[in-house]
């Protein structure tokens, strides 16, 4: 099972790269919309995350959560991360 820390670090780096912003601007409790990530972007991030970790995740998980912390909590309750 995946470690939450690994997901968190990868996600933060993804968002910073994708939006071409300083990594310090990306935090676990910042709203995706506030950072400039729309719903289509979030689903695209999900596709990349699947590819990176070799897992399959319901696309709705990337839609229904608004922050990295919420997303990781949802992945935990879905049995995807520890």
């Amino acid at each position: 099972m995946l470690k939450p820390k690994a997901i968190e670090e990868w996600t933060m780096d993804f968002i910073a790269t994708y939006l071409d912003v300083d990594p310090s601007a990306v935090t676990g409790d910042a709203l995706f919309v506030d950072m400039g990530l729309d719903s289509v972007d979030a689903v695209g991030m999900g596709g990349s995350l699947e590819e990176h970790f070799g897992i399959e995740v319901d696309a709705n998980i990337f839609l229904r959560n608004s922050t990295i912390n919420e997303m990781i909590a949802d992945l935990k309750s879905s049995g995807i991360v520890e």
Binding site: Y18, L19, L31, D38, V43, G47, S48, H52, L63
Partner: protein
Amino acid sequence: MSGGCPELSVIVISYNMGRELLRTLYSLSPQYQQGIDASDYEIIVIDNGSHSPPTLEEFADLGINLRVISFPNPTQSPVRAINHGLTLARAPLIGVSIDGARMASPGLLDACRRAACVDDNAVVTTLSFHIGPGVQWQSMLHGYDAEAEDRLLAGIDWKNNGYRLTDISPVAENLAQDTLGPLKESNFIVMRRGLWNDLGGYDPAFENPGGGAANVDLLIRALQHGETQQVVLLGEAVFHQFHGGSHTNSGDRALEVFKRSAGEYYRLRGKPRFRDTDRIYFGPISKLATRAYQRQLAVGQTQPRQLGSSLPEENDGSARYLSLLKSVLLNETGLETEVALDSLRDTKIVPASFWTETLYNVASRLPAKLDEKRRSRQIGAVSRNRPLAYTMIGRQRLDHLQWCVTTVLAEGIPGDLMECGVWRGGACMLMKAILEVSGDQERAVWLADSYEGLPPPSQPKDEGLDLSPTHAPELAVSQERVKRAFADFGLLDERVRFVPGFFSDTLDTCAVEHLAVLRLDGDLYSSTLTALSALYDRVAPGGFVIIDDYGALSQCARAVEEFRDLRGICDPITMIDWTGAFWRKS
């Protein structure tokens, strides 16, 4: 047609686009494109395995320097077909439309040609809009389809003024952040041959249907290559027709399709990066284009409209009052609060910063969302977040309604003003206010509504369109509440007349005698047909019939078309925006 070497080659990919390709090619033809001669460019259609491939003969009368090629080894991704097209292109400048369902604005080709001169390594990019109320993978879930789109296109006379495509295409799909932000991709992209060669064209490794993220990849690679310079066209664009595209029209599969494409990109390239680097904006290009583009940018602003429906430019107290009233009826002055609340919609826990920062600083915290909200209020876009306003019809339709009322007053067209399906009464409040400021003491404003929401669908032609209070409780607004709103605005008097009850029970026998403006906003086939049948004969010659849901709801449009056919009505229907339509009774 053949001849010397053209300046510009355009490659258009087709796949099962029997309905769309003719329009696309018309929009690229010399009879539509402005500022460029037929001999200046060639179009190469590469068909990527259609069941019924297009033929040159179908487009013979368009006057295009055209080749139609069937790609011999079609795959589900158009990438190889595009690259084949690149080998056939003769011009030094080459444009690619990865999706042949995208129509062009009238100055597109000439603008691309001129924009490419800005820099030797120019990457000329365009905005790409979706025809219809929103991005099509969402609007199709609410009933948008080819039939609805045909109606929209038929109502704007686009062949004679292609810039009116912007009126029925409010949403650009490829903006990453805001109107002047980076583009995620360019669905019409023009570069010099040498640059295409350096990039090796599109990457055939992108094998997903529709090319997946190949188009995104191409733009990212082009902008990271050497000394290239992105040039973004202003005022010109492409407009996507509904055609069952694997991405654009994926509907309820959209999430999985996007996820799969992104996964393929990640596998091939790693994390994507949309560099927000300097871009050159090329334009304005023509007066018409500038006006059209201003409308896209003029979020929350009233723009003069074409079609003779321009509002008077007087700047007296009455005009200013009506303008302010429209702003309030649309809640244009309260959009920041709406945006702040929207940001909470899918949030399980309200962050503490919402109360201290977001709510009071929406313009800097959520600028893109605020921009989007302004735009959607302009056009009365449909979304799950209903406006906290007195009307949902948007600024364009309110402006048009004002024009209708002032026109009947100015021309002395007899009769009252009526709306069937009033929601919170905003449109009727505007009509009443116009009567007030004009000094009219005779005409009544009639408000017909159940005041209990829409009835559940009762006819087969309304099947699947259930907007009854069980599904849409926010559409049920009591008569008392509407009356109170009129009173709050100082507009309630004995000439504001309520007709409570379902249309089928009330309209035939209601006391309305003559109408100068009849506005129908009942959504359903049954409601629309009932209202037309009961009231059309009471509309005076020269009066206006306005149908709010003509573009958005096929059920409503069907009722209108059946009624017009039955009664032999030939007065042309004209679109007001992406959904509103009207005709003037002769």
